[in-house]
Assembly symmetry: C3
Homo-oligomer: 291 residues x 3
C-alpha cells in the first residue's frame, strides 16, 4: 500500500516477486480479528493519534494511548498488543516506550515497531536499533526505513520512500531472521516476510500518500492483528490486505484526500470477511483485471 | 450517550431511573449558551484535541489550549471555564493542570474534570483523587470511572465502561455530595446529579462509540456550559442532551464512523433551540417512539 | 481570510486599502510550487498537526514533524522550509524550536513564524520577541498578534482577533521593515507587506472561523511557499490567495464546519493554476460581483 510516495518503481535488479497473499486466508483472519476485538496500546506520534484511534475503532478494536512511563508499563501488561511509532520521538516519550516494551515483554504482550524516518535522523536511528534487541513481534516500514534498519543503504530523505518495496525485500528477510519478527515493507506493493516465507499484497491507491497517517495507522492495525493467536505472518499480511483493499476501493469514489478519510473509515467499519473473499473470486473470473 | 461501549446493560439491582431532562429546559439553556459564546480553556488529552476544538467551535464557543504552566494559569483566569482531561496525563502536563486549576479557583473560573480511565491506572488515579479536593464544578465520566472515583468497585479494563450508567448513579450522587459538583455518568443513558436532584438524558447511538473523543468532547461541552450563570445541573444536562440529540439524529443517516464526524459537527453547528424544543413535542405526539 | 473571528470591522481611521494581489501572478506561483513540491518541517501546535499535514499533502508538499531538539536541527537543514507555530508552546518544544531555527539559518532554510496569541500571554510573547532577532522569512498572524508583535496596542483576548486586519497594516509594515520579513496580517481581508509594497487578498468565508487550524494551516502553506525562489511577497500572497479562494468556494456548498474540512482538502488537491487564473477573468466579466 502506497503511503508516502507515488513514484514508479524500477524493477530491474529486484528479486522475483513472491506470491500474492490469498484473500481467502485474509478473510478467515479478519473473522478471527472481529471476534477478538483486541485492546491495543498505541505509543505513536503526535500527528496521527486521532486517525490511528479512529482506524482501530472502525475495525472493532479498542485503542488506548497511555503515555506516562509508569502507567504505560502498567497498561502494556493489560493490553493485547502494543504499538511503538517513533515519528515524533523525544526523550520523555522514549522512556515511556522503553517502560512499555519491557512490561509488554514480561507479560507476553506482542509489540510492533514502526521505525518512521529511520536512517536520516540520528536520535531515532540509534533508538530504533536499540529496540531491535527487545524483540518486536513485527516491524512495518517503507523501503527506505526497512533498508536503513537492516543496515543496507538507502536514498530516502527521511519521511518518504524513494526505494521500491520489492528492492527492500532482501533487507526485510534479513531483518526478520535477525530479529525473529515478521517484517512488512510497504509501498506500491507490500511485501511480508518472516525470514522464510514471503507474500505480496496488492491494492491501495496513490491518493493514500496524500493523507497523513495511512502508514502509521497500518502499523497500528498490524499491532492489533499481532494480538491474535495463530500464524503471525498471515495476520500481518491480513492487516496490510484490509487497508489496501478498503483504501483502493474507496479511492475510486472520492474527490480527493479530504473525502477519502471519512469514506475510508466507513469502509473499514463496513468490511466483512465475505467482502474480502468475494474480491478474490471476482478477480479469478476476470483475469484481465489490472487490479 | 454511549461513548465507548455498546454492551447491553443488565438493569437488575439498579435504582429506579430518574425523570428525563425536559427538552424545553435544554432549549432555553442552549439559547443562553449561544448568546454567551464562552471561551473554554481545554487541557485535554493528545488524541482528541482537534476534535474537541471543532466541537466547541461548531457550537459557537471559543476553545483554546494553553499548556505551559505559567501561561495555563494566566489563561485560566481570562477564560470562562476550564476543562481538565487526564487521558494522556504526564508529569509536565499535570503541573500545568494544577497551575491552571489554582488560578481558575482564584479567579472564580469553573472547571470540569474528565477522569479518563481512572481506576485501572495508578498515576492518574492518585492525581484525580487529589484534584477532587480542588472543587471541580462538574465531573463527567462513564460508569467505571465514576465508581472508581467515588471509591466503589469497578470491573472496567480502564478505557471502556462495562458497568451500566444507572448502576453508577448512587456512586455519582455520593461523589456529587462529597465534592459539591454536578456529576454526569454517561452511557447508553446518561444520568446527571447534583447529589439531591437527578435527571436522565436519552439519545445517542452505538456508532458514537466507534469515534474517538466523543466522550472527551462531551466533557469539553460540559465545561463550556459550566461557564453559564444559573442552574448548573440544568446546564450540564443540556450539554449531554445536545450531544445525544445531534449524535442520535446524525447516526441514522451516515454510512459509518468516518462520515459521522463531519455530519456531527455540521449538526452541532446547525442546532437551534427550536430544534430541541420540537423534538420533545414530536415525541409527545408519538408515544410509541422508542427513541 | 477569516480564521478566528466573524466580527464586522470598523474601517474608519484605517489607511487606504492596497491593491488586490493579481490572480494571474498567484496562478504562476502555484505552478512553480507544484513543480517544487517542497519538504516543510513543521514545529506547530498540538491541536492542528494532523490538519496542517493534510493541507500540505493536499497541495502536493511534503510535511514532516521532527520534534526532538537534536533531530529538529538535523532536519531543518534538510528541509526546504521550516514553520514555527507557538500555539501550545512549552519549555522543551521551545528548545527544539530554537535548535531548528539556528540550524535553518545556518543552512539557509527559510523559516516562518506564526505568533499564536502573542500579546495576552507572557511566556510566548517573550519567546516570540526573541525569535524576531533570528530573522524569520515571513510572519503570519491576525491583527491582534501582528500589532502585539510590533509593539502596538491590541484589544484581543489572546486567541481571536478583535482588530481589523486593515487597521494592523501600519504595524505589519513596521514589523516587516524592522525584521526584514514579509508580514501577512489576515482577517476578513488579508494584507501582505514587505515593508515597501502591499497587497490585499480577498476571499475566504466566516465558516473558516469555525474550523480549528485554518489560520495555523495557512501559516504552514506560507512556510511551504517560502521554499520557492523568486519574489517572496508574491509567494506569501499566493499562499493566502489559494487558501482564501478554495475556502470561499467550498464554504458555499457545505452544510457546516464538519463537511467543510474534507471538501476544503479536496479543493486544495484539485486546485490548478488555470482555476486561479480563470477566477480573475470571471470577475472582470462581472464587475458587480461582490465576491
Amino acid at each position: 500500500m502506497q503511503t508516502t510516495h507515488t513514484g514508479i518503481s524500477t524493477l530491474s535488479d529486484n528479486p522475483p516477486a513472491p506470491d500474492l497473499f490469498p484473500d481467502a486466508v485474509a478473510a478467515a483472519c479478519l473473522q478471527q480479528f472481529q471476534l477478538a476485538a483486541p485492546l491495543v496500546h498505541c505509543l505513536t506520534n503526535e500527528v496521527v493519534q486521532s486517525f490511528t484511534a479512529n482506524v482501530l475503532l472502525a475495525l472493532g478494536a479498542f485503542p488506548a494511548m497511555v503515555v506516562e512511563a509508569e502507567e504505560a508499563a502498567q497498561f502494556s501488561a493489560m493490553a493485547n498488543s502494543l504499538l511503538i511509532n517513533i515519528g515524533t520521538l523525544h526523550h520523555s516519550r522514549a522512556e515511556s516506550m522503553l517502560a512499555a516494551i519491557t512490561a509488554a515483554n514480561h507479560a507476553g504482550t506482542p509489540w510492533v515497531l514502526d521505525p518512521v524516518a529511520v536512517g536520516g535522523l540520528t536520535y531515532r536511528t540509534d533508538f530504533a536499533h536499540h529496540l531491535l534487541a527487545l524483540k518486536p513481534a513485527a516491524i512495518r516500514g517503507n523501503a527506505s526505513e526497512i533498508m536503513a534498519l537492516s543496515g543496507m543503504a538507502t536514498m530516502g530523505r527521511g519521511v518518504d520512500s524513494l526505494d521500491s518495496s520489492l528492492a527492500a525485500l532482501p533487507a526485510a528477510r534479513q531483518l526478520a531472521q535477525q530479529v525473529g519478527a515478521v517484517v512488512a515493507v510497504t509501498g506500491e506493493v507490500d511485501y511480508l516476510t518472516d525470514g522464510q516465507r514471503d507474500f505480496a499484497v496488492r491494492g491501495g491507491h496513490p491518493l493514500m500518500t496524500r493523507v497523513v497517517g495511512t502508514g502509521c495507522a497500518l502499523s497500528a492495525v498490524v499491532a492489533a492483528f499481532c494480538a491474535l493467536e495463530g500464524d503471525r505472518l498471515h495476520h500481518v499480511a491480513t492487516a496490510c490486505r484490509i487497508m489496501s483493499h478498503v483504501g483502493g476501493q474507496v479511492a475510486l469514489h472520492v474527490g480527493g484526500p479530504g473525502s477519502f478519510i471519512p469514506a475510508f473509515l466507513d469502509g473499514l467499519y463496513q468490511l466483512t470477511a465475505t467482502d474480502l473473499a468475494q474480491t478474490e473470486a471476482k478477480m479469478r473470473q476476470s483475469p484481465d483485471a489490472t487490479h
